[in-house]
Symmetry: C2
Subunit: 455 residues, 2 copies
């Protein structure tokens, strides 16, 4: 692992990006539509910042309007896989994005919007893209369309692909072959493995895990076993999801950005009057070592650091994860399964107490001895500016809570089955699945984690 | 079966509906929005008729505009099940809808839009609805959200439910308990089992079938067996669907109805300038034996009779169905699996020959000896006026065609697995699945089919 960090540091020396915040009205190539106020690129490509009107008559907050990113095109997030001496390796890229807090992250082999690969921005061709556009000579290990942040994106989805090749693959500068075990170790490093890599890794079909040496790891390994039943059958899980999608009353309609209420454009950014949630900002980018040399774009800059947590518990010796049937206005079909807790705590101070997320107190007050994973990771740096979340896995006793209509205990195998299909598991849950899976091969002590965190 | 037909006839004697076509501008309770021309109910409920702009740059017809029904609310299509002497029975309703060509059809126990059960139209309560709204005391056999016609509806979906009860159920006038075998026989009767009943029945989890007495039925029974592989693995099928959804370039945007081009409002209806596709008409309804006594509404009236066909073939003794990855503009995610052929042949005369549907000639010219199922059935009579399709299952030799990127051979078991999830199988394919399944219990001769057709 340390050699990978060294390689990243060396690569960082000749790859940099200067990002400066500029006013939304001063973004070269971008304009505000005079009628709607929507922010769009003059080519009509990439994405637009529009408004969304959300109505949830039965929720504690029964309605609101907000800015939202509309990016209808579906991109490719692809990792190339190849066996060396029989061991699968994954080709990862050292990549900077303008929203990254500190430089390079480990990214998938390919991370390309359709505008990227149809070359709207006149950049260089995307390396390795052909392996994903024509898979006929290769073995497709996973290929599934998954959603992204439904609070910030309107129905955004990307294609998550892992393609295994047998042939020789040229190793380009900025790319490196890593094993799954190495990737799992690197997942414990603060802000290193990017969101796109995490979601693709989570969609890899996982096999049975070895038996392990303590109760937690034994229960985790058993949770991958399709022969061991969960507390709910798969049929019951699917029925529950249908029910939540049907009884949840939500309407989300796109509206002009200049019709959003409670938000204002001042000082070149769009902000909520409470100062909460997020700002829409503009950035100017000067890059070395990327497809193009300079560009400008709007970004979403979240306020505050979020918490994304799985509460997990062994039930009859099989680890279960407490999943939340969560509604976000940008989802294609009302509800997706989300982590037990997913929020930015400081967004709740001005909301009614009934709006406070369930189980947040259990997460914030968890016994350190029960924390199985705890790392700061960031969301997509191509659209979100310094969007950091604390990703946590906490072991609890399943008896600590009674039945709740919006929550169910599922096994890792069941979650894996759901991830073979689109739009069941949200992007934060998929990230945490990659983290949870990493615990099958890593045994990080608090000390080593602190060391890694300080890279 | 004949007793069911007699019961229907008796019920028809005291249940009737007068439907008269009236101009769209003369529909009580409905109005045209002055700005957009969209047709809406004054309550804002039910549905609206809007415009849709479709762009498919790589297709033979690269773009068009059309009227489309927008009905965002998700209704319930529910069948109640109960065992009598250990045999499952299903509670079916004799129901008239204004679009029915001739009177009563067999419908699910409950067929309710949200407007129905929130009582927007001030009608009587929907019988048996509570079994589906609160399932806690019952056994849910299936509960899945599925799409409906993507050519006429914008992202319409309904919840398909089968709920088994153990308790006594009051039998109301107009309802009847039928076994699956009885329903299968009735599926061979022309225009009798309505679309909603067919789609709910198709979503029932089917078990293994008995071995059968001829090659076709033996291959059909084996096609339900999860242990017998299809020519593609389930992983390959899912990957193929993702690929088709990703490479198919389609954008469908809602536009004002008065912006559709090539369509005109004349004589109180909206028609295409070629006379093809469909008209939007208005109807006035006087009903006896329904929730409300009279109402008016717009409907879609398709031009011509459609053909909906499965080509099926035994491969290694297991029946496979040739499925089409089809794009309709109203689908939530680009592509759903459709029958091998699904079209109205006369809509193609003015289109380029490359737009002619694949395999249509094989269907229209099929050897009568190879036809396993052949019945005229209609689409939802609550929105579509005399929308009749010829549903056909034709046995072929799998070798008759080579690989085609938009088509794959799947087993019945694989199709059943896909139907546990939303938006994989379109409504016409689900109807044909119910018909195909009916062949496991029925042996209709051409003579008996003709007799039944003449009810």
């Amino acid at each position: 692992m340390s050699t990978t960090l060294t390689w990243l540091e060396e690569f960082a020396a000749h790859s940099s990006m200067d990002v400066s915040v500029v006013g939304l009205d001063e973004l070269p190539g971008w304009e505000r539509d005079p009628a709607t106020g929507n922010i769009r690129h003059h080519s009509g490509k990439f994405f637009t910042v529009e408004g969304l009107e959300v109505s949830r008559p039965e929720a504690p907050v029964s309605g609101w309007t907000q800015p939202i990113i509309n990016q209808p095109e579906v991109g490719i997030l692809g990792i190339l896989s190849k066996r060396f001496d029989g061991v699968p390796h994954y080709l990862m890229q050292a990549k900077i994005e303008p929203g990254n807090r500190r430089g390079l992250q480990l990214s998938p082999t390919v991370q390309a919007t359709r505008s990227n690969y149809t070359r709207v921005h006149q950049g260089r061709p995307v390396p390795y893209l052909d392996y994903f556009r024509d898979t006929s000579r290769h073995r497709v290990l996973t290929d599934v369309r998954q959603s992204e942040q439904g609070a910030w994106f309107y129905r955004k989805r990307n294609r998550n692909m892992v393609v295994e090749v047998a042939e020789e693959v040229e190793l380009l500068d900025g790319f490196r072959w890593l094993t799954l075990a190495e990737l799992h170790e690197l997942l414990a490093v603060e802000d290193l493995v990017n969101m796109d890599a995490r979601t693709v890794l989570s969609c890899l079909p996982y096999g049975l895990q070895d038996g392990e040496d303590d109760d937690f790891h034994r229960a985790l390994a058993r949770s991958f076993d399709p022969r061991l039943p969960g507390v709910h059958t798969m049929g019951d899980v699917l029925t529950w999801i249908t029910d939540r999608r049907s009884v949840t009353d939500v309407v989300a309609e796109r509206i002009p950005l200049n019709s959003v209420r409670g938000w204002e454009l001042a000082d070149g950014r769009v902000s909520h009057e409470t100062g909460c949630f997020f700002d829409v900002i503009g950035v100017n980018v000067e890059a070395r070592g990327r497809e193009v040399q300079g560009w400008a774009q709007p970004m979403i800059k979240p306020i505050g650091e979020g918490v994304v947590a799985f509460l997990v518990a062994p039930i009859d010796g099989v680890l279960h994860v407490l999943m939340h049937a969560r509604t976000e206005p940008g989802y294609a079909d009302v509800v997706e399964l989300a982590p037990t807790v997913q929020c930015t705590p400081e967004n709740y101070w001005h909301l009614p107490p009934t709006a406070r997320p369930a189980y947040l107190d259990q997460v914030l007050g968890a016994d350190p001895a029960a924390i199985r994973y705890d790392t700061i990771l960031s969301e997509e740096g191509g659209r979100f500016h310094h969007a950091l979340n604390r990703y946590v896995v906490i072991e609890v006793d399943a008896g600590f809570t009674g039945p709740h209509p919006e929550y169910r205990w599922l096994t890792v195998h069941q979650l894996g089955e759901l991830m073979r299909h689109s739009y069941y598991m949200n992007v934060q849950a998929r990230s945490l699945m990659a983290c949870l899976h990493s615990l099958t091969t890593t045994r990080l002590t608090t000390a080593s984690r602190a060391l890694l965190g300080s890279r």
